[in-house]
Symmetry: C2
Subunit: 337 residues, 2 copies
């Protein structure tokens, strides 16, 4: 296999064996801190699809999403002096809460850069984990620039949301647990935003289930990943209009795109209406609260974007952080499957 | 201990040792067919309450509620000839789906008597399990009378929703699993409708955790159980106006009231608004879809109806069968905890 591209030298990963070793280290490190989330199945769904589907419930992960894994894998490797100075991240979503929670657990200060219009619940959640929240102005200095400036001024470590090997290998540990619990898989579906979860899951599958085809699922309104996958260049969709707030990232990075092009079989897209049908089914039938991005994998199966007939299929339900106030009415208006 | 009252002779349970043996038989029988549902905890909640809370997730039980347990415990003991003739039940809720599913699994025909105005989703769910649905007329023959007539005419066995030792002992197996998984408990909270779950849980606690105080929680609008508990007589509230559809039963039975008076420490009540706060917290923080009745135990803790400080508390989340279309708007309008 050839998992690597130009980033190998930069990150001290000269060959596949080193990458595999580094992934297995991440696996052990994350297992000590993260919840081992359950894998659930549904006979009704299996009968409908003519397949065997295994859901990995990362909505039950700490802070409610898989993002805890990558943040823990990176931050827990920092030397004591760097931990003392702290970490900084820019995010208005699950990555912010992940960095804040991991920093608190490891005794590190954390600064999270968020838009001033971020939902009150997310601001409160991030502050609740003890992080300092700083606002950036959409018209002034950008969030990456502000985060970089804080990192430099305070000697803090920047924790990127996906563009780092320790982040993506950490995210991939969810897929590793899923493969261990479900047994051999023919297909593995994960949501695709910046590509950390998808590329890390693909590394896990290459190591633990080499014949498993890995598929990324993206909201149709933000199909930068699908287009980048086809063209091989970093395509961009700014501020896509989709309910899937975890997949609004404008583009992949060259690191994640390289891994995805080499190790992923296909990237497909789903509409928001298809995502709502999947969410409603997960809520009503499996009693699982899953956020829109987390329902992308099931949406792709239900909408026939991926043919799963006769297959053993893993689906990562990536998170459960939903703003009920904003979403309940749309969900209630969504027809039952 | 003295679990027994006048019904002992009727049901072939002459003493406590016989009752304990019959409960342990139910435990093994139900374990072979029901899901062993998970027990989940929340550090945030524990910090807030100054207690340790263990939630038993019967929302993940087969057909979405604990009712599978009692129905299986009774129906699986029927002799082959009775199974061949089939079973009949009257219910518009979880008991209907439980009897229908168990009957299908055991190859028995099932007739479910439901009101003609039952929600389409519940009718479809019950028929989906292969049961024949018969409607009764609110102004004509009552549902018990109709079910009794069908049982007689077709030689079918009537499966009552709570008023039978095999039903309530089956329901108590959830509490037994909770006590095994959580370790010793000081308090155990279950919803109270007809009293099958509460009385069965109390029997389980008396056998497995004799010092555990068992508390029933009832919707305030239908406080027949709380009043019966105090007066010792069967008090009635017809068609109480509450969201807790699983606890609208007009009264306990003398069987369940007798067991509850002997083995339960207290019955408390909660308003629908308090239930909605608990439901929203369970959905948003634990990612668990729980129906209104299922949230009664947590509602009692959050509203201070039961003082849990310093205690190890088991809470049975009894089911997750929610009509999202009907409830989403109210849930979205409920303030966050």
């Amino acid at each position: 296999m050839s998992l690597l591209s130009g980033w190998a030298a930069q990150h001290g990963i000269p060959d596949d064996a080193t990458l595999a070793a580094r992934f297995l280290e991440a696996r052990g490190r994350v297992a000590a801190a993260a919840h081992r989330t359950p894998v659930v199945t549904s006979r009704t769904l299996d009968a409908r699809l003519g397949a065997r589907v295994f859901f990995k419930c990362e909505n039950f992960q700490r802070m409610g999403a898989f993002k805890f894994r990558g943040a823990f894998n990176l931050i827990s490797q920092l030397p004591p002096e760097a931990l003392r100075r702290g970490v900084v991240a820019y995010s208005s979503g699950n990555h912010a809460q992940a960095v804040a929670l991991v920093a608190r657990e490891l005794g590190a200060p954390a600064v999270i850069v968020m838009p001033s219009h971020a939902p009150a619940a997310k601001l409160a959640g991030t502050r609740g984990y003890g992080a300092e929240v700083m606002h950036y102005d959409l018209l002034g200095e950008g969030r990456e620039a502000l985060a970089g400036r804080i990192a430099e001024e305070r000697g803090m470590t920047l924790v990127p949301p996906f563009d780092h090997p320790d982040i993506l290998l950490g995210q991939g540990t969810a897929a590793a647990e899923l493969i261990e619990d479900a047994g051999s898989l023919d297909l593995l579906l994960t949501p695709l935003g910046g590509g950390g979860l998808l590329s890390g899951s693909a590394v896990a599958a290459r190591i633990l289930a080499p014949s498993c085809r890995v598929v990324g699922v993206e909201p149709a309104a933000g199909d930068d990943g699908a287009r980048s996958f086809r063209s091989g260049r970093l395509e961009t969709v700014d501020a896509p209009d989709t309910l899937c707030d975890g997949a609004r990232t404008p583009s992949l990075s060259s690191l994640t795109l390289g891994l995805i092009r080499r190790n992923v079989g296909e990237v497909v897209t789903c509409t928001d209406d298809e995502v709502l049908v999947a969410m409603r089914w997960l809520w009503e039938r499996l009693k699982l609260v899953v956020e829109p991005t987390g329902a992308l994998g099931l949406a792709a199966l239900l909408a026939g974007r991926v043919d799963g007939r006769g297959r053993r299929i893993g689906v990562v339900l990536s998170g459960g952080n939903v703003d009920l106030g904003a979403l309940a009415a749309r969900l209630a208006a969504t027809p039952n499957l």
